[in-house]
Symmetry: C2
Subunit: 664 residues, 2 copies
């Protein structure tokens, strides 16, 4: 560390108040202060070091997980951190582990589906980590189709127990994080059978391992499912498999909030509405959208800083070469991702509000907004995670060759992130759920049942089906109303076109299957509209700080207009815009890039990531990339010795032409 800020020139260029923007990004001054304090705490604690994850073997990496988890828990106690602060600490430790499932899935499942007594008993144990839990749903043969799960829980009235059993190989639980080596308990999803009747999938609390010596209980076969994508990454997590051989649990370990089995074996639904399950889904997906913004902003931060450090070509009269961030091709790939990180942040913030709203309504027995909220979160989960996975890899490519080094931080970020496209609903399956909801909404237009929430725009179908945007000059594309209308018209017209094509099929299900690709595209158009509209809504709020609002406006229009360009075929086939207007949008986009350019580094400083959290030599705050790349290289195990292990056995016989006689 020579203390020089190699990006100082970039930071001076910014014409907005970075500190105020940090508050906007964090959501509030309070949130900013917690994140800022906790991230520094983690960064300065040598226990949380993570720069050696890339060379660790599986066992070592896993042991490091256990060590960090224990240390984190110790620190949380010592510092008397609040629940909120503890959550931030786990976030900044940035090490996928069984803790994610214990806090993020096991406990919420019990909260959502357990009775009051069950919550009291199990959550107090879990809260103190006297037990460690995971969420055992997915099986070797079933992921998306939860109703197809094969594990059975048969009630035995003689002993007042459920018998949990894995009848087939494909019924083995497969993937649950924390299951492989750590969890003492699991919420297991299984088909409930009582009195010879199959009542479908229900949750059961099952103890897996002895609390004395951690050995699996009788009838339980459990292990780790093996190495996953990437070095480091999710290999610190013990995703597991689990097979039951007639394992007996007390009847009261069925989660009984929504329905119960009586002592006699009678299945009794409770009067708690089943829709409550959906509110948990809204909650989980809301956190996934927030994570998308975190992951994408991290990649963008690395790529932006490095693009300002890296110079290539364009030296004038022997002067320095051009910074690669000055190339339009670089801007055209990087700035839309920067804008997307902000867009996803704001739509995530809105989803938090939506979750609160849905929860309050449910408590008041108002289920009217639930289907729309459910579709909307499904779609946004799909949209943001797909864009983020692609965006991280694009950021890696934007860093050229050096982005391929593990120490760039981008390979691991990608490997850690990509499962988000699959878990909690495969992204394509989710889009089709959205499409189904859209088709239903279209079919009800004019029926007197007005579309609600994010589909409210469809009420203006008559106007949107025939409107033409009043864009005559490039600047017209900076009008919120113009942009909104173009996106609304496109989304509606695509949905209506799908509905029309569907109506040509005698069998609606067959039609839906046949046209599913078109339907998925219509769903994407609807979801992009939501993101654009929430960004525009954000601009209408009070925003403090010199130049802050202006920057957000630029990013908002970069986001919208790059989508317009990317999906130009949609806008043109639906006649929402003309070719001429498309060309004006491109002109406007280029001009926006010029305005973003001087602010780019400050716009990623806004994320307030420590070098520890960022974990990237290329993305270092001080921009001092090259000496640190060399320093990292020297640390590789292969550099432990000058002459590599294997030289005498393999290289020397090769070049000395003695291979034929040597034993390999």
């Amino acid at each position: 560390m020579d203390g020089v800020d190699h990006l100082a020139d970039e930071r001076i260029k910014a014409d907005f108040d970075v500190n105020e923007m940090k508050i906007v990004w964090a959501g509030s001054r309070h949130a900013f202060e917690i994140s800022d304090r906790i991230s520094r705490l983690v960064a300065s604690d040598p226990f949380f070091r993570k720069d050696h994850r890339g060379v660790m073997g599986r066992k070592e990496l896993f042991k490091d997980t256990l060590r960090k988890a224990a240390h984190a828990w110790k620190r949380i106690f010592e510092l008397r951190l609040s629940e909120d602060e503890a959550g931030r600490l786990r976030f900044f430790v940035d090490h996928p582990s069984f803790l994610d499932l214990h806090w993020g899935m096991f406990m919420p499942a019990i909260k959502g589906q357990g009775t009051d007594e069950q919550q009291q008993k199990w959550l107090s144990l879990a809260n103190r980590m006297q037990i460690i839990g995971c969420y055992a749903q997915t099986e070797l043969g079933h992921g998306s189709n939860v109703q197809g799960l094969e594990t059975v829980a048969t009630f035995d009235p003689h002993t007042d127990e459920f018998v949990i059993h894995s009848p087939t190989l494909t019924s083995a639980k497969w993937w649950p994080g924390g299951l492989g080596k750590v969890s003492t308990h699991a919420v297991v999803f299984a088909r409930l059978i009582t009195d010879g009747e199959d009542y479908g999938i229900h949750g059961f609390i099952v103890q897996l391992r002895s609390l004395d010596d951690h050995s699996p209980l009788p009838g339980i076969t459990v292990g780790d499912i093996g190495t996953k994508f990437g070095n480091g990454a999710y290999n610190s997590m013990d995703n597991g498999f689990l097979m039951f051989d007639h394992v007996r649990i007390p009847r009261d370990q069925m989660l009984m909030r929504l329905s119960k089995v009586t002592r006699e074996g009678k299945y009794v639904p409770s009067d708690v509405p089943r829709q409550l399950v959906y509110s948990t889904m809204v909650y989980v997906r809301q956190t996934i959208v927030a994570d998308a913004s975190s992951a994408l902003s991290r990649a963008v931060c690395i790529a932006t800083r490095y693009s300002a450090v890296r110079r290539q070509f364009g030296s004038q009269k022997g002067g320095p070469e051009a910074q690669v961030i000055d190339y339009k091709t670089q801007q055209n790939r990087l700035f839309p991702l920067l804008a997307s990180a902000y867009a996803f942040r704001f739509v995530g913030e809105w989803l938090k509000w939506l979750y609160t709203d849905v929860t309050q309504r449910l408590q008041a027995n108002d289920f009217s907004t639930l289907p729309e909220a459910h579709a909307c979160t499904a779609g946004l989960k799909s949209l943001t995670t797909s864009a983020t996975a692609d965006g991280i890899e694009e950021c890696r490519k934007l860093c050229g060759g050096h982005g391929y080094l593990w120490c760039s931080g981008l390979p691991e970020l990608f490997a850690v992130y990509v499962p988000a496209c699959t878990y909690e609903g495969d992204n394509v399956v989710l889009l089709l759920q959205v499409a189904r909801f859209l088709m239903k909404t279209v079919s009800q237009l004019g029926s007197g049942k007005p579309p609600v929430g994010t589909t409210a725009y469809m009420a203006r179908a008559e106007h949107l089906m025939q409107c033409r945007p009043g864009v005559q000059r490039a600047e017209d594309w900076l009008k919120p109303g113009v942009v909104m209308e173009a996106f609304e018209a496109r989304a509606l017209r695509m949905a209506v076109a799908c509905a029309k094509n569907l109506s040509k099929f005698e069998n609606p299900e067959q039609g839906f299957a046949e046209l599913s690709s078109d339907l998925a595209e219509a769903a994407v158009a609807h979801c992009q509209l939501i993101v654009v509209s929430k960004f525009i809504a954000k601009l209408e709020q009070e925003i403090n700080g010199k130049g802050v609002k202006k920057q957000l406006e630029n990013l908002c229009y970069v986001y919208a207009l790059h989508l317009l360009h990317k999906h130009l075929g949609d806008f043109l086939t639906t006649a929402c815009i003309t070719s001429k207007q498309a060309s004006l949008a491109s002109d406007q986009l280029r001009s926006l890039y010029s305005q973003v350019r001087p602010n780019a580094v400050a716009l990623v400083d806004t994320f307030n990531y420590t070098d520890h959290y960022l974990g990237s030599v290329l993305g270092r705050y001080d921009g001092n990339v090259y000496p640190n790349l060399l320093e990292e290289a020297w640390k590789d195990p292969l550099n432990d010795s000058v002459v590599p292990d294997g030289y005498h056995q393999y290289i020397r016989p090769l070049i000395k032409q003695q291979l034929r006689t040597s034993r390999l």
Copy 2:
């Protein structure tokens, strides 16, 4: 292995002669036979086992590289393999190593740039592997901009030597494969300075390590650059760094075919045309396009077979669920990639012909086709590698959760493949080279100098600027002439539009920079046209075997029509097609998917990959996925013990609430 073929039903469905298609894929019966024999040889040799790469640490993995390289060399001798066969053997060993650079870059560089005497001396050593060489061009601070390299080679007339020196940190050689730990020699690219004059970048043969004990020679600092993307993957390769402290080499180790330095230090260009260098580039890029087809076909093979094995949803009356390959959303993502693998195969074949053609012309002093050939290979390298990298990741996603397991083969295939987007010319930089050539070609239209090779279509500019395709029914999109004209018109109109916009700038370079994103898109359009046209040309050749031609026709139109849909904005803004025609193309595409569906598994069997080469539990030939996933899982080091290492230190104190007092 229970010997049952779980995909037998799929294989029966195929209505074409798979064996004949294998010949078409391989290029000839002879090529097929060599590949078939050598791939089985490798698969059956336990030395070449690779299923444990994913859990190997860096050192172990590297030692395994050395071992396999030595064993491969031994087998090549023992079996007296031809050069061709030896190359296939290295290919099927499928382990990135220093050998790739020794045979693929070091020796070709000497062949291309060395004098006859230099070739005789060095190639005979290299051919017997008495020396091992690498290609040291890229530096820490320079990749794309080769002219900006900083390493210097200063001629010292007193001693008749060159002094090789790294004047800065950023001048350190960085990335060369095989450099870090193995190579004894390198072709080093450096600025040639003689008599106080800088003559730019030239190649020099430099010995790096002692042939006796492998220690680096005086003045040489060398090491490995560290861990790269993914487990296994390129971590078996010792990509290295290298710094020179005034290292002296004899004058005759400058590669002197194109220019030499005399005993007196005079710089003398030879009469050998410099353009020869480009023919090497054409050669290297041709191999990259062939590799793209190999990598993509491998991913597609895995995803196709697994999509036929995997069932999810859609069970009717308690019967089995639907195979996921039957979903249109799956087909819409998978089949265009299947078609792309074939398309890239055929364009790669054509590039081989192009290289031969260019070489013959050069020998006859005909340089007329060189700029076009150079642009065309640059563009095809960019197009095929980008599509392949994205395609592999898409195939991984198409395998759902299990695609994220290392043993699916897809994570490592992705990690191994993605550098192809960056090396040998960053893909965006290459597109801009193509665009530059296109702009020049457009500017010369009507000047009497007719466009050649893949730009010949531009001679019909007058027609192509105003033609309208005669598509009135979906089937019209199966006419080669119609498809070709649409792609030609789109490519030309985009190029012409760019030229027109460029002409508005006073400073052409500034205009080029400003419009570079549009220019890159025009280059993509041109390159896609080339791939489509070579696929169509392939269909016009004699093709044997029942149903083989029909299958290729289906794939050709899948390839073309999915591109049309993906880039619909291009086709519509240039008014090459109408919205109605676009919709007919989508209809036709869906109908083609139905025709591909029953043949899909047979169309990937055609690639003739052994399970060893494929390296995927999901892609196994016999489709027996689930038991083998479990078997793989048990092998993970974490499953060595039931209770994991770290339990007593970290888990037990945690759940027993004894953390506060324990030392971590």
